[in-house]
Amino acid sequence: MLPFHYTRAGDIAEALRILSRDEGATLIAGGTDLVTLMRDGIRAASHLVDVNGLGLDEIHWLPEGGVRIGALCRNAVDDARLRREYPVLAEALRSGASPQIRNRASVGGNLLQQTRCTYFRLPEFACNRRTPGAGCSAIEGDSHLQAIFGASPQCTAVHPSDFSVALQALDAVVLTEGTRGRRRIPVDDFFRLPGTTPHLTTELRRDELVVGVELPGGPLAARSHYVKFRERASYAFALVSAAVAVEVRGGTVRSARVALGGVAAKPWRSPAAEEALIGRPLDEEAAAAAGDAAARGARPQRHNGYKVELVRRVVRQALSELG
């Protein structure tokens, strides 16, 4: 680990000031990802700006419907109303990491956590995400955990977050604050696909920080569900996960959201799966159709063809359990 400066920021302005002044500065909240990255020589921050003193740790219910979750709420957030009104969110959070990590990790940090791609995490391998232009060892390497959607010849890594998959299914908005003001970024826009610039993983600017996420109100969220499939019962990243939300009126699906985890560099929204559900009863047949639609267009690598079938099944399972 390289030596670094440390500042505990007193307010957002101070944190932003350091970020804009020092190229090598980075924020630290829970540190559950950043510390590992620094220890492993993946990130070399010259200045850590501790934001744990900034507040931003409240759940605020909006009068016009919806809820705002502060960026420094911990992943262990346990709120009865949230569980009731946004079950997919509560389930996704609970399925992540371990209790110890959830107690420590922040909501903002969850969005910004780095991929678990082993070729990114081991500095001995070439990685375009770590060092732009260096090449990607994963292309010829072991691809059993890599992306089947949205990958590029420069990067095949997947986003590890469960929480973000739920946000994607809930049409969440990421709230940021920067030296140039505040922004509201729809979660689908917040995360980037690798393309030719895999080192740019989100729309967040250098001199900007995430202050919270906002979830809209409305009927979709109440009937929502998260299914995470992994190699062991707990404490593992998803092989494939699905967040689904469905609004059924008069016996047929009026609107639907299907988002996938473990398959792309961002939480992967599947409009095709959503369309497959619209206008029909939410039954086994619809669930299977949505699963098939979700898997369409997948481009597996050498070792991860199994993920395509898993997408079918996980989506079907999530919708069946919902129905």
């Binding site: 680990m1 390289l2 391998f125 390497g141 190699e231 062991r232 092989l239």
Partner: protein
């Protein structure tokens, strides 16, 4: 007589361990210690063209950077197998595997050393690595017979090929096991300091006397100039059975900087610097008649090894001993891969081998329509098929019977896929297990004090198996003391040399030494009493005097008794010393010795999302006398859970291009979490087996981890109709 052996006594060190009082190697402090960080190779094959250490040397706190160009010479290459690698660290410019140490940075603090290590620049000349066992297979060969290969690589009785061709039922399959990491909680640590030409070395070692000898050889010292101490080991599972490179690096660096030097390997280096269980490919060919009598068996295993060493994973080693089969051929080969040298990992050879053989037997059972338990019963080896000798205490049939009953095997419907519960496919599977019992010379002393207490002195190491507790019970019973009156000095070469704490040697060998020592101390006490006019036992026949409630008494006259305390104080004797020196009878014993087990597993697999859940596992073991019902159960559960990991999730995957392990972290190298473990039920069918040794106990640690993978795979087949012959059985193999 106090009955201590077998009692479910709580671990004697339990309180220290849960309160932080237990001192592990990393906890030991020495004044003026410097800290080393080990720089690993970024490539997996080639040479170091040059190393630029100038920036590292200028970094804050750095004392020195040692590389192959400036290292002091070792006096000699100490012998294998317990020197893990047949190449001393930093020997030359050659790179054999990713992560091989190429430089040692020594600094005032660990953080400074770690930082400077990142500044060491190496220039490499790359050559083509052999990344995987598959790539190496065509060049597989019978390993060179040297210290690394302790057991023969080939075995033949009869003419297996001919008998196979003549068998009415034949089966031929290939099975694969993955590279596995020991992944102990405690990364290996070594603290070394010199006082003149005396070397003291604290090391997280499973065998201090064994490893001391290696260190002494490496530094050209007589053994008595080296003291090695290993108080507690925070999990080894075999990776601390060997002296890995860091063990030699610490004293070398301490000599260079003339200060104590601490080397604690990083979590990543646990996966690359202290061995692994090598991946295997095993071909099994079985011939049988239609009644399920085995006629021929060929078991041909190849494991990966490093370019430095030929280390055999003895997967077919126990095969010839297991069943009454007239014609058997077993062979083990190695294939060189650009990876580190493998080590012994619970359970060397047998865990991997049993997966193949016991899976094949299950396949045969289905093929001929026979219950898998019955198939094994029919082929039970009543005597050792290799030597023809009688077994010492083999109760494998009782293991099958009792475990099957406890499990409810009679509820099994034979047809695969026929048992369901909602969306769950339910499968029952079983397998047997066997491990040859080894013995080792072990010494101990027991001092009986005038306080009525006893001290065991023996270099055995507590690696988590409960040895301090069970050996205390042995001494307590021998002297008629409560277990709480026995203390233990352990894990130090200044103490009498015990057996190494690996290979399931503790109960049989170390236990026998303690028993002999306790008997010797008792004999001394009896002699003192019968020769002492003031003793109520004066003049008695020593054979009539027994230990009883912290003292002695006449066997048939409870009123003629006195305490050790009275006896010793009256005679102004502070303590009586008993010596125990257990010498294995070995080949002259007249008995074949092994431990045996039977496993029964229930799996449940959601038919949509097929992750195998082991909801119930019942195992029965034949290990002779059980020294402590609590620690034994605990140890067996641990062995079973460890292998459930190997069955379902553990795999240290090599990068297919470089061969570098891609899961050198506990996040990525999956071992079971609590939620993965269902009911694990353990039975012991044994009775004291005094043919094996004076104590009547055989080892448990190793046998507890043999046969589980096959039992799980067999249950998966029963649940799904799908035969998985390649471990681990991950969901992708069941879609």
């Amino acid at each position: 007589m106090t009955v201590a052996i077998g009692e479910p006594v709580r671990r004697v060190e339990a309180r220290d361990k849960v309160t932080g009082g237990a001192r592990y190697t990393e906890d030991v402090r020495a004044a003026d210690t410097a800290y080393a960080a080990l720089v690993g190779s970024a490539i997996s094959a080639g040479r170091v063209r040059s190393i630029d250490a100038r920036q590292a040397e200028r970094a804050p706190g750095v004392l020195t950077v040692i590389t192959h160009t400036n290292r002091p010479d070792f006096a000699a290459q100490p012998p294998t197998p317990y020197t893990a690698e047949g190449r001393m660290p930093l020997a030359d410019d050659r790179i054999h595997y990713a992560g091989q140490y190429i430089a040692v940075v020594v600094a005032e603090t660990q953080e400074q050393a770690d930082h400077a290590a990142t500044l060491v620049q190496a220039d490499y000349q790359r050559t083509s690595p052999v990344p995987t066992l598959d790539a190496a297979l065509p060049a597989a060969y019978i390993p060179r017979q040297n210290g690394l290969v302790r057991f023969p690589s080939e075995y033949r009785r009869g003419h297996a090929e001919t008998a196979l061709a003549a068998s009415p039922v034949r089966l031929e399959q290939e099975y694969r096991t993955a590279t596995l990491s020991h992944a102990p909680m405690e990364p290996s640590s070594t603290l070394a300091y010199w006082e003149g030409d005396r070397l003291t070395i604290y090391d997280s070692s499973q065998a201090v006397h064994t490893h001391r000898a290696l260190v002494a050889t490496a530094f050209g010292l007589p053994e008595d100039r080296v003291r090695m101490i290993s108080s507690f080991v925070g999990g080894g599972f075999g990776n601390k059975s060997f002296a890995w490179p860091h063990v030699f690096i610490a004293p070398m660096a301490a000599r260079v900087v003339r200060r104590p030097v601490r080397v604690t390997i990083s979590r990543k280096q646990v996966f690359t610097g202290t061995g692994h269980m090598a991946a295997t490919v095993q071909a099994v060919r079985l011939g049988a008649d239609r009644e399920g009598r085995l006629r021929a068996l060929i078991h041909d295993s190849t494991n990966q090894t490093s370019f430095i060493d030929d280390r055999q994973e003895g997967a077919a080693g126990t095969t010839p001993y297991m069943y009454a089969i007239p014609d058997v051929y077993a062979r083990m080969r190695v294939a060189k891969v650009s990876t580190g040298t493998g080590g012994a990992m619970r359970t060397p050879g047998d865990s991997a081998g049993a997966f193949a053989l016991e899976s094949a037997l299950d396949e045969l059972a289905y093929k001929i329509g026979m219950d898998p338990v019955e198939l094994r019963r029919r082929n039970h080896a009543d005597t050792d098929p290799v030597s023809g000798r009688p077994w010492s205490g083999k109760r494998l049939l009782a293991c099958y019977e009792q475990a099957a009953e406890r499990f409810g095997w009679d509820r099994r419907k034979a047809e695969p896929g026929s048992m369901r519960d909602g969306d769950d496919l339910v499968g029952y599977g079983m397998a047997g297990g066997q491990r040859m019992e080894h013995q080792s010379r072990a010494r101990a002393t027991v001092h009986l004090s005038d306080e009525g207490t006893a001290v065991i002195r023996s270099s055995t190491v507590e690696i988590g198996g409960g040895g301090l507790t069970t050996l205390s019970q042995v001494a307590a019973e021998g002297l008629g003391l409560p277990v709480g009156a026995v203390t233990f000095e352990h894990g130090d070469t200044d103490l009498p040399a015990s057996s190494p704490t690996f290979g399931s040697l503790t109960s049989g060998s170390a236990g026998s030494a303690v028993r002999l020592a306790a008997q010797d101390a008792l004999r001394a006490a009896i002699e003192l009493a019968v020769g002492d006019r003031r003793s109520p036992l004066h003049g008695a026949d020593p054979d009539d005097v027994v230990a009883h409630e912290s003292g002695l008494r006449l066997r048939d006259r409870p009123d003629r008794a006195e305490s050790y305390r009275e006896l010793l104080r009256r005679n102004r004797v502070n303590s009586l010393r008993g010596d125990g020196d257990f010498q294995p009878a070995g080949e002259t014993a007249g008995y074949a010795m092994a431990t045996f087990g039977a496993h029964f597993t229930e799996v449940r697999i959601n038919r949509h999302l097929p992750r195998v859940r082991v909801v119930r596992h019942v195992a029965a073991f034949s290990i002779g006398r059980v020294l402590n019902a609590r620690t034994a159960r605990n140890q067996a559960q641990g062995g079973i859970i460890m292998r459930l990991g190997a069955a379902l999730m553990e795999s240290q995957r090599p990068d297919p291009v470089s061969g570098r392990f891609i899961s050198p972290a506990l996040t990525d190298y999956h071992v079971p979490v609590n939620a993965d473990i269902g009911e694990v039920d353990v039975l012991f069918v044994g009775e004291p087996d005094t043919n094996a040794n004076p104590l009547g106990a055989r080892g448990l640690g190793e046998i507890s981890a043999v046969g589980i993978c096959a039992s799980v795979a067999n249950a998966v087949y029963h649940a799904t109709g799908r035969r998985v012959r390649s471990l681990p059985i991950t969901p992708d193999k069941l879609l």
